[in-house]
Every structure is written in structure tokens, then in C-alpha cells.
């Protein structure tokens, strides 16, 4: 079965991408599988300047999930371009750079740096990181800001595909989705982590130094499916489903609801070779289900009348 996916000028060998912040710059996972088996790699979030990120502890395991508050620790966009991208770009896999900034202007500047990089297939705009105190959350929750940021990135991104990653921590995600569309987004990816918290009754402290963290993993899949469903109904641009995918069946649930592709995140921590076999498993499962093609299966969810 043909598993290729193309949308808005972005060509993926298959619908499986790895989610930002869960797959490093990709090369960390090269000992565990063939990176060219993936549809795409979304690199760890990048900012203009290097960031040290949040203090420790940063992660906590929760039932069927985990909390993280890393705080976009990254070496900065220049180091990405000079040190990591060249090796990654030699691989036959779509590389998506994930952008983090504190205002629309800085987002535009970041997009400008990456616009000329041939090794980058698309830009994913992180308007939804809940961890960074200086305003990450504000973008994700304010439709007007989402629109402005998307516009700023699109303006500087040259011919790069621009994907906007949405936060679930909003009253109506469809409103945010429309704002990104109005700003010129080529596609949307959702969901980012759910805002959460964990505490320890023994030492009476939060389990994460940042106190509030982002919940990911299988625990959030139902929320993610609901969000993808609502956004697919609300907009006409392609949607990439993210949230708790830990099997081929999970991935196909997002496709059934209408996602063009998926991103695998926390499952990369279950075992480092997880993502490499997922596309093949999806293909086998589609055949087993009697689906004619990925396109035929996509969005074929039968809703009650």
C-alpha cells in the first residue's frame, strides 16, 4: 500500500513523524533504527539564542503518561544549522525545525534564519509551550497572537511549509485553529502537552521544579483525538495528529478522525526503536482492516447522524 503523504508542498515517505522534544536532533536515535524509515523528524525546539532551560527536576512519570518542564533547552538556531543539520540533512527524511520565541518579531527572525536552509523541509511553530514563563502560554491561548505569530513566520519563511502546533489548554481549539489558518499556516499539528502538576506528600514539594509541567503519553490520547476531530471539522488545511500514540492502532485512530499524518512523542521513550517500525505496522493494519488506501481510510469516521 502506498503510504506516501503530501500536503502543502511537504512530501513525507509515510505518515509517521517524531514529535519535537522527544527525538533530539534525530541522530541520537540512529543507533536504534534507520532514520530514513521515518516520514519526518521534528527537531528539538529552537530559539534564536541558546537556552539552558528549567532547573531540575524536570520530569515525572505519571499513570500512563509523564510530565515534563524542560523549558526549551537548546543550543540555539545557529548551532543547529552548523553542527546538527548537515548530518541530518544527508538522510533521506523530511526534517522539520520547531521554532520557539517570545514575540512575533523574534519568531519571524528565526524563520528567516531557517528559510534559506535546504536541509529543512518545514517549520513547525510552537505557539503552545506551557513551560516557559515569559509568555509561551500566552501565544497558545490567544487567537489574535496565534494569527500574528503565524503571519510573522510565514512572511519570513520563504517557500518553507509552515505548520502551527496548537495547545489543548484553551476553551475552544477550533478558534485557535482558524486564527492560524487566517495567519497563513500551511498545516496544523496538535496537540502539545496538557498543563499538569504532580506533588510529593512525603516531602511536601512539587515533583517538578517549574511546578507546572506538560502532560504527555497515552493518558492524553482521548483529549488529542477530540481536539483533532474538532479542528478537522473547523478548517480546510491538513492536520497532523499528536498525543499519546503508542501503537499502529493509535496512529490509525488519528488518521480515521481526519489527520494527514501523525507525530510520535512520548512513545520514543518507551523504547528508542519505537518509531522506526510504526509505518510498516500501520500499513499491515490498514490491509488487515480492508482499507483500500491511506487516503480512503483518512477521515472516514462514521459519525452518528
Amino acid at each position: 500500500m502506498d503510504m506516501k503523504v503530501s500536503f502543502g508542498g511537504l512530501d513525507l515517505k509515510n505518515p509517521v513523524m517524531t514529535a519535537s522534544g522527544t527525538f533530539g536532533f534525530g541522530l541520537e536515535f540512529a543507533p536504534y533504527g534507520d532514520l530514513e524509515k521515518l516520514g519526518g523528524i521534528v527537531a528539538k525546539g529552537l530559539s534564536l539564542k541558546p537556552r539552558e532551560g528549567n532547573p531540575m527536576p524536570r520530569i515525572a512519570e505519571t499513570p500512563c503518561g509523564m510530565l515534563n518542564a524542560i523549558g526549551i533547552q537548546n543550543p540555539g538556531v545557529e548551532a543547529f544549522v552548523t553542527k546538527y543539520l548537515p548530518a541530518l540533512a544527508r538522510k533521506d527524511v523530511a526534517v522539520v525545525a520547531n521554532l520557539y520565541a517570545c514575540d512575533a518579531e523574534e519568531f519571524g527572525e528565526l524563520a528567516g534564519v531557517l528559510a534559506g536552509e535546504d536541509g529543512v523541509a518545514a517549520l513547525e511553530v510552537n505557539v503552545s509551550c506551557p513551560n516557559v514563563k515569559e509568555g509561551g502560554i500566552a501565544f497558545g491561548q490567544d487567537p489574535a497572537q496565534i494569527g500574528r505569530v503565524t503571519e510573522a513566520v510565514k512572511k519570513m519563511a520563504g517557500n518553507k511549509h509552515v505548520m502551527v502546533k496548537l495547545s489543548p489548554n484553551v476553551t475552544d481549539i477550533a478558534v485557535c485553529a482558524r486564527a492560524a489558518v487566517d495567519g497563513g499556516a500551511d498545516s496544523l499539528s496538535l496537540i502539545n502537552t496538557l498543563s499538569g502538576m504532580a506533588v510529593d506528600i512525603r516531602n511536601r514539594k512539587p515533583r517538578i521544579a517549574n511546578v507546572i509541567a506538560g502532560l504527555s503519553g497515552p493518558a492524553i490520547k482521548p483529549v488529542a483525538l477530540r481536539c483533532v476531530h474538532q479542528v478537522v471539522q473547523a478548517v480546510d488545511i491538513p492536520v497532523v495528529g499528536i498525543g499519546g500514540i503508542a501503537s499502529a492502532e493509535d496512529a490509525l485512530e488519528f488518521i480515521l478522525v481526519g489527520a494527514h499524518a501523525v507525530q510520535v512523542g512520548t512513545a520514543n521513550f518507551l523504547r528508542p526503536d519505537f518509531a522506526f517500525t510504526l509505518a510498516d505496522e500501520m500499513e499491515s493494519l490498514l490491509e488487515e482492516l480492508g482499507a483500500e488506501s491511506l487516503d480512503e481510510f483518512r477521515g472516514s469516521l462514521q459519525l452518528p447522524l
Partner: protein, 261 residues
């Protein structure tokens, strides 16, 4: 053969060390040897039993206690949700194992080398002693809380000069700290090498005296990890310049003067 990989391997043996493998106690987990090119003492593996499904998501990191072409042995203390379930494994069960991960302890065969172990921190030193070409140059000190038979101390002290102090009463801690101080000072004087592994307060003590006496010392850290491969950035510590670095890939072994504990 492979430098490092992720493989499903069979459990060969789960055996209590000392008493039983109940909560707070110790056991050895022996796993099939995967197709590794080799490994070095101080490196670790992540293991995740395949039957965990989605309840516990992360693998768990353990120092490689010893390994040969047949098996990999891990020395584990039953302290939480993950390790209590690992203690329940039976021979024949399947575990995903990725490794060998991280860097390794310095090895200078001709240099007098002091091994400082805090409790379960003794684990990597078994492999170190077994693979050292001149064990007569090694000296081991173990500070522990559980009875001595819970640790692989005897097998090591048969091969190298060994000393241990149990911490039962508050004054025992002073004896442990004073002994460590004396040993570190002695090894600093003879330009020996000091390798240490144990809980954070133990590592801090090593670091404090190593800096005070100018000793060459390494500490092995055991921060919580989700991935073990450098991606999640959940295990970071600060290097000598104050930058966050991953314990899993830049460590777990650091020179004591180049890490903030």
C-alpha cells in the same frame, strides 16, 4: 554486532542477594547478552519489561554490574514501582534493553585506584574489578545501610583490598565521612585515581574532599531518566561551566571538578 542497540532479551535469572527481593532489598537480574561489540565498566543500560504495556512508560536505568559474551548482570535495589515489578520477573520473560549507554570510568592499570561505593553504588565496580588488568592496584571502600551480605562485597574483597562501614547510628556517618576524608587525602598525595558511585550526598562528600585535597576523582551520577539516549533532557546536570548537560550521554561519569552536584 553493534556498538549499541535496542533488543528484546530473555531473563535468565532473578536471584535475591543477601535476604529476599522484597521492598528495600537487593537482587541480581541476569539477562541474555545482546549483540554488542563490547562494553565498559561505568556504562549503563535501560531496561523495560515488554509486559509493562502503558502503565509505566519509561525504561529504568541500571549500571552494568558485569557482562560476558553470555549474559549481562544488573544489581538492583527494590525501591519503587518500576524496580518492584522488575523483581517479579521470571526466567524466560522478555525485556527490552538498550545500551550500553553513556561513558565509562577512567582506567589507568598502573595507577593506585580507590573505589568508593555508597550502597547500591557498588554495582559498576564489580565489572571494573573483573576487567582490571592489575586488581592489586585497586582498593575498595563501601559505606552501606543494609547487611553486608546484600552487596557483592565479598566477591570483590577476595580480589582487592576491601573495607566497609555500616551506617546504623548517626555517629556511624561521621566515621564514614572521616574514613573517606582520610582515603581521599592519601590518594591525592600519591596522585592516585578515585572512582565513586552512590547517592548524591555521598557523591557530594567525594567532590568536597577531592576538591579540598586536589585529588583526581570521578563521580557517577544516577539522575532520573526517561530515554537514556540524550533526547528527553530530563536527566541533566550542570557541567563545570554551569551549562546543562545530559547525564545519560555526557556522563554518567564526570570528573568531580567538572560537575555541579
Amino acid at each position: 554486532m553493534s556498538l549499541r542497540n535496542c533488543r528484546n532479551v530473555k531473563v535468565l535469572e532473578v536471584s535475591p542477594v543477601g535476604q529476599s527481593k522484597a521492598a528495600g532489598e537487593f537482587f541480581e537480574l541476569k539477562l541474555e547478552y545482546p549483540d554488542w561489540d563490547g562494553w565498559k565498566p561505568g556504562q549503563f543500560v535501560m531496561i523495560r519489561p515488554v509486559d509493562w504495556e502503558l502503565d509505566l512508560l519509561w525504561g529504568r536505568p541500571f549500571s552494568i554490574c558485569s557482562a560476558d559474551g553470555e549474559s549481562v548482570t544488573l544489581f538492583i535495589q527494590n525501591v519503587g514501582r518500576g524496580t518492584s515489578r522488575i523483581a517479579q520477573l521470571q526466567p524466560g520473560d522478555t525485556v527490552a534493553m538498550w545500551g550500553p549507554l553513556g561513558n565509562s570510568f577512567a582506567m589507568e592499570p598502573e595507577t593506585p585506584t580507590l573505589l568508593l561505593a555508597g550502597g547500591i553504588g557498588i554495582a559498576p565496580f564489580r565489572g571494573y574489578v573483573e576487567s582490571h588488568p592489575h586488581p592489586e592496584n585497586l582498593q575498595l571502600f563501601l559505606a552501606h545501610r543494609m547487611p553486608l551480605e546484600c552487596y557483592p562485597f565479598k566477591t570483590l574483597s577476595d580480589k582487592v583490598e576491601g573495607q566497609c562501614i555500616i551506617e546504623e547510628k548517626p555517629e556511624d556517618l561521621d566515621a564514614i565521612i572521616n574514613t573517606m576524608k582520610g582515603l581521599i587525602q592519601e590518594y591525592a598525595k600519591k596522585d592516585g585515581l578515585i572512582l565513586s558511585c552512590g547517592p548524591t550526598p555521598f557523591m557530594k562528600t567525594v567532590q568536597r574532599f577531592a576538591n579540598e585535597f586536589g585529588a583526581r576523582a570521578q563521580v557517577s551520577l544516577e539522575n532520573r531518566m526517561a530515554c537514556g539516549v540524550g533526547a528527553c533532557l530530563g536527566c541533566v546536570t550542570k557541567d563545570g561551566e554551569g551549562h546543562h548537560v545530559q547525564v545519560c550521554t555526557k556522563g554518567p561519569v564526570f570528573w568531580a571538578d567538572k560537575v555541579e552536584l
